[in-house]
């Protein structure tokens, strides 16, 4: 029994040094236990010592007190570090960059790996592409350099996320994550280098011994080989793993008797490669040399030479854009500027650089150098203008423009000149259609409104395209008084203006406009857009440590006249949580109240005790999620249980018991549900009044170039899917549904699936292309392999005899490829073991009309 007299309730008290000093007077058993208490609290004790301390603390109240304090100390330290902490993770694509660096210093390792791959391929029955020595020539490994270097080509939404991050650092103890990066990291995890086919002639994909024809919209991923016949040609977009959801890193054109292996390495076995690069790109050549490309148009011709077929002959031409730089492993480097060509190998000693103009003159008679380039120089240019309300030009306004080209949407940023103009020069490839535009006023003009991302029609024909001038008038002004629920002023709260687009399901926080309330709870918000298009609303998210985080909509205001509003916040409640990882700091994400689920969350960092419980945590009413792991790979929903008790006071503090959903090892039903709700929330399918289909991402990642299909139900289950075309950012795909086609389906490039009933879309569409009804997100794909009961192995790539999954709950089909679309047949009833894209396996039971996951 205890030899120490402790009558105080210590559970909620800070550590007292005096208690710890009583250690000196303690009996031997106590001293042994106390020597180990810090390690116990930190989870560093072995099993035997752990039991010893635990057992002793049960018997000795004084040591139980000391142990509680050691745990308190440990918890306090974890929390102190955790406040203001964000998960430490390197930028996406870290592993590939590390590998590229390693191989740059040791190129023979790449050769060795390649040999292994080929041997494995041969063993697995792949036709070896280098069965004859004339193939293996150049090995090109692509990596993109710093994504930040692509500032000219950044999409618009991520910039908003960054601005929010800046605002958050002001918040201090609170960490708020908008459009949770979890979703991005989750998609990033599953992406790899790939090619998306734009145009193909006599082009095939070779994978696992199967040769299948390629159609526009098909994708080639790791391990796929692109094979062109003698008269074949292909245009494709190259995406790398480090920049997800953005425009392609480069456009690629290949022609005639060429092979290209896609994967971590882009391996050109034989032929010509034309690269229109949009951001800096490094190519690692097989002999250890590197080829660095900037933004521009480059032509690369690679072939083997020498009897053993292992010597490299390379030729690179720089037609426009940044110079290319060749750095040989020996240390020699040469810069190849626009209008120059470099030869390397084929008898050249070192790197020989020649003038392309001279070559063209010399080769004109023989018809050389007459190929059409990627991105036609005939495309018209664009001129746009930004003015104030009086028509005066605004210099130094920031313009972000996403415009259509033959190869999809491209984003550019500009700063207007002194005439308020921004100009897209010749050769940009811009086409008439719909552009997306966002304009911010010049620095120092906080009185002016800004123009939110919106669609604008490009006017004009060949020659010049124009956009209507963007007029930035005097911004709307809102004077708000922030109050607590009982009507008292809430001083020093941070008010962050937030725009919400109901149609797109997007939230745009405007961190530059965030202001702190004064001592009387008053804030003055300036520079808000004076007019908002239908379906968009503006509101304020108020941050205060004691209040729940709520999106408070503001009623519409016109420029000039200040709107006076009162914003009432609500106290957080105290809750208890169980079922958390014991003795760990965990992240609990709370969805912001007032916005649709999943758009904005607030992060609570909590420390669970050794039983995985938190006695008291303060939060609001939003849905709660447990984030497992610093990499944010998995979310588990936390369900609220019954109210257990109430404690007094004017503000009733409710104590809720939260019961997290059971975390089954591997993939549980909850895991799949999360995937459906968050990870695959990548695309919205909508129909405008004009029957134009678009696929748009509410999370800011463009679901550009998703494949769109119209579905017709089949008797007995399954459906026929008719290929409608590829989506673009903005509406551009006109839909003419045929009788019986009742649903639309979009397949994102990341494997996401979105499916929506046409009637539901039509019922709410009335505002042109940008304002369809937001749909229910109902998709999940990436079931990589299904093992039928008879151990039949089916592949899910959209090749003959594939299996996919569609629906908020898993629906698994046998998919048959057709010329334009596919047919999906239901699988026979039974239990199936399924492996998803993250290599997790789970069992699925298919019954007539019902498919479910079974534990």
């Amino acid at each position: 029994m205890s030899t120490h007299d402790e009558s105080r309730d210590f559970a909620h008290q800070p550590p007292n040094r005096a208690d710890l000093e009583s250690f000196e007077r303690a009996p031997l058993a106590c001293r042994i236990a106390r020597e180990r208490m810090r390690d116990f609290a930190d989870g560093d004790l072995g099993e035997a010592d752990h039991r010893l301390v635990e057992h002793h603390a049960h018997e000795c109240r004084g040591c139980a007190l000391a142990l509680a304090r050691a745990e308190f100390e440990s918890m306090r330290l974890r929390r102190a570090f955790a406040d203001g902490w964000s998960p430490a993770a390197p930028r996406p694509g870290f592993a590939k960059r590390a590998l590229a660096r390693a191989l740059a210093l040791e190129p023979e390792a790449a050769l060795q790996a390649e040999s292994i791959r080929r041997i494995n391929g041969a063993v697995a029955g792949h036709p070896s592409p280098d069965a004859t020595p004339k193939h293996l020539v150049a090995r090109v490994m692509a990596k993109t350099v710093a994504a930040q270097a692509a500032s000219r080509t950044e999409p618009i939404a991520p910039a908003h996320r960054r601005t929010v991050a800046r605002a958050l650092s002001v918040v201090g103890l609170l960490l708020i994550v908008f459009m949770s990066p979890i979703w991005h990291s989750m998609t990033e995890l599953t992406r790899s280098v790939r090619l998306a086919v734009v145009r193909a002639e006599s082009a095939s994909r070779l994978n696992a011994g199967n040769l299948s024809g390629l159609l526009p919209g098909d994708g080639l991923g790791e391990g796929d080989m692109l094979v062109l016949g003698e008269d074949g040609s292909i245009d494709a977009e190259f995406y790398d793993a480090s920049v997800v959801g953005e425009q392609p890193a480069a456009q690629i054109r290949m022609s005639g008797d060429s092979d290209l292996l896609v994967g971590m390495q882009l391996q050109l076995d034989h032929g010509d490669l034309e690269i229109l690069s949009h951001r800096p790109m490094g190519l690692l050549l097989g002999d250890g040399s590197t080829l660095e490309l900037g933004s521009g148009l480059y032509r690369i011709h690679a072939e083997q030479e020498g009897a053993d077929g292992h010597q490299l002959a390379l030729r690179i031409e720089v037609e426009r854009g940044d110079p290319a730089r060749i750095a040989q492993a020996s240390g020699a480097t040469r810069l190849v500027s626009v209008g120059q060509a470099a030869s390397y190998g084929r008898g050249a000693i070192g790197i020989a650089v020649e003038n392309l103009a001279q070559l063209a003159t010399a080769g004109a008679a023989s018809g050389a150098n007459t190929r059409q380039t990627v991105g036609s120089a005939e495309a018209p240019e664009l001129v746009g203008r930004v003015t104030d309300a009086y028509g005066s030009p605004l210099a130094h306004a920031s313009v972000r423009l996403a415009f259509p080209t033959s190869a999809g949407y491209v984003t550019r940023s500009f700063s207007t000149d002194h005439s308020g103009l921004y100009v897209l020069p010749q050769g940009s490839g811009i086409l008439p259609g719909v552009a997306m535009l966002e304009v911010l006023p010049p620095a120092g003009r906080g009185d002016l409104e800004f123009s939110l991302l919106d669609a604008h029609h490009l006017e004009g024909e060949d020659g010049r395209l124009t956009l209507d001038p963007v007029v930035l008038g005097v911004g709307a002004q809102v004077r708000a008084t922030i109050e607590t629920g009982d009507g008292h002023a809430r001083p020093y709260a941070l008010a962050l203006p937030v725009f919400y687009d109901e149609a797109l399901g997007q939230v745009w926080p405007w961190s530059e406009g965030a202001v702190y309330a004064d001592v009387d709870g008053r804030v003055n918000l300036r520079g808000l857009p004076s007019q908002l298009t239908a379906g968009r609303s503006v509101g304020v998210v108020v941050f205060h440590p004691d209040d729940e985080t709520v999106f408070l909509p503001l009623s519409e205001s016109r420029g000039g006249a200040a709107l006076e509003v009162r914003l009432q916040t609500r106290s957080q409640t105290s809750i208890a949580v169980s079922g958390l990882p014991p003795s760990r700091v965990s992240s609990i994400l709370e969805e912001v109240v007032g916005l649709p689920p999943g758009l904005a969350v607030r992060r609570h960092l909590v420390h669970a005790d050794i039983n995985g419980q938190i006695a008291s945590m303060r939060c609001g009413r939003g849905r709660l999620w447990l984030e497992a792991g610093p990499a944010s790979a998995t979310l588990y929903p936390i369900s609220r249980g019954a109210e257990v008790a109430e404690v007094g006071g004017e503000h009733v503090e409710r104590r809720l018991v939260l019961q997290p959903m059971q975390q089954a090892p591997g993939v549980a039903g909850s895991g799949l549900e999360i995937a459906v709700q968050d990870r695959y929330r990548d695309a919205v399918v909508g129909l405008s009044g004009g029957e134009e289909l678009f696929v748009q991402s509410p999370s800011g990642q463009l679901a550009d170039r998703a494949q769109a299909f119209a579905l017709r139900a089949r008797v007995g289950g399954g459906f026929d899917a008719r290929f409608l075309g590829l989506s673009h950012l903005g509406a551009s795909l006109r839909v003419h549904l045929q009788p019986g086609e009742s649903e639309l389906l979009a397949l994102g490039q990341d494997g996401s699936i979105v499916r929506q009933n046409v009637l539901a879309l039509r019922g709410g569409s009335s505002h042109g292309w940008l304002s369809p009804l937001a749909m229910e997100y109902a998709g999940r794909a990436e079931l990589a392999t299904v093992l039928a009961p008879a151990a039949e192995v089916l592949s899910t790539t959209w090749s003959p005899l594939a299996v996919g999954a569609v629906g908020a709950r898993p629906e698994i089909y046998r998919v048959l490829r057709r010329e334009a679309g596919f047919a999906a047949e239901s699988l026979p009833a039974g239990d199936y073991q399924v492996r998803d894209g993250q290599n997790r396996t789970f069992r699925v039971r298919i019954l007539p009309g019902q498919t479910s996951i079974i534990r």
């Binding site: 800070p14 040094r17 570090f81 203001g84 592993a95 590998l99 390693a102 040791e106 610093p630």
Partner: protein
């Protein structure tokens, strides 16, 4: 004896399997990046240092001994890579105001609490005191309580003994507790 997954990956890397190297990097990148961030205190330098560590691991793969674990080896490499980077950075930096044991210097600086709101929370006080700790005291605490490394992992990364880690942690906690007492009293 069955080999751990990481050891198997490293053996595959030894045999030239680049995909295995990528898997290995992905397995450890958060831990190594977090370690680097705590040591070099700059995201850019942390990424460079973490990359250095994996590149060194790749080039040293021929020396890998499968009877030993990968992780301690990688942590040691990473710790060295971070210190290398710090040395390079310090060589170009101005002399630092605060050294290893900067109690005296710290006392000459304005009292960080003087202008603090009386209602400053305990958590904030801890943050302030953590920032005032010397690097030698702060780093083990941060690796343990922020990055979640075990004592053994900290020992591997910092190139010190396990008992030394415990001593440093205890000392840092005592310094912190004593300073917090003063804060509470004030």
């Amino acid at each position: 004896m069955s080999l751990s997954h990481e050891t198997q990956l490293m053996l595959r890397v030894q045999s030239g399997d680049l995909a295995a190297f990528e898997q290995l990097v992905e397995r450890y990148q958060d831990m190594i990046y977090g370690l680097a961030l705590s040591i070099v205190r700059s995201p850019e330098d942390a990424e460079e240092a973490a990359q250095d560590a994996f590149v060194k691991l790749f080039h040293a793969r021929g020396h890998f001994d499968p009877s030993r674990e990968v992780e301690p080896w990688l942590l040691r490499i990473a710790g060295n890579a971070c210190r290398d980077r710090l040395r390079r950075r310090k060589a170009h930096a101005l002399p630092m105001l605060r050294g290893e044991d900067d109690e005296d210097l710290a006392q000459q600086l304005p009292d960080p609490h003087a202008e603090q709101d009386a209602a400053v929370s305990m958590q904030q006080a801890i943050r302030i005191e953590l920032d005032r700790l010397s690097e030698r005291a702060r780093l083990p605490l941060e690796l343990k309580y922020l990055r979640g490394l075990t004592n053994q992992q900290i020992a591997d990364a910092l190139g010190i003994s396990l008992s030394n880690v415990k001593v440093q942690l205890a000392r840092a906690k005592d310094i912190l507790a004593s300073r917090l007492e003063k804060v509470l009293e004030s």
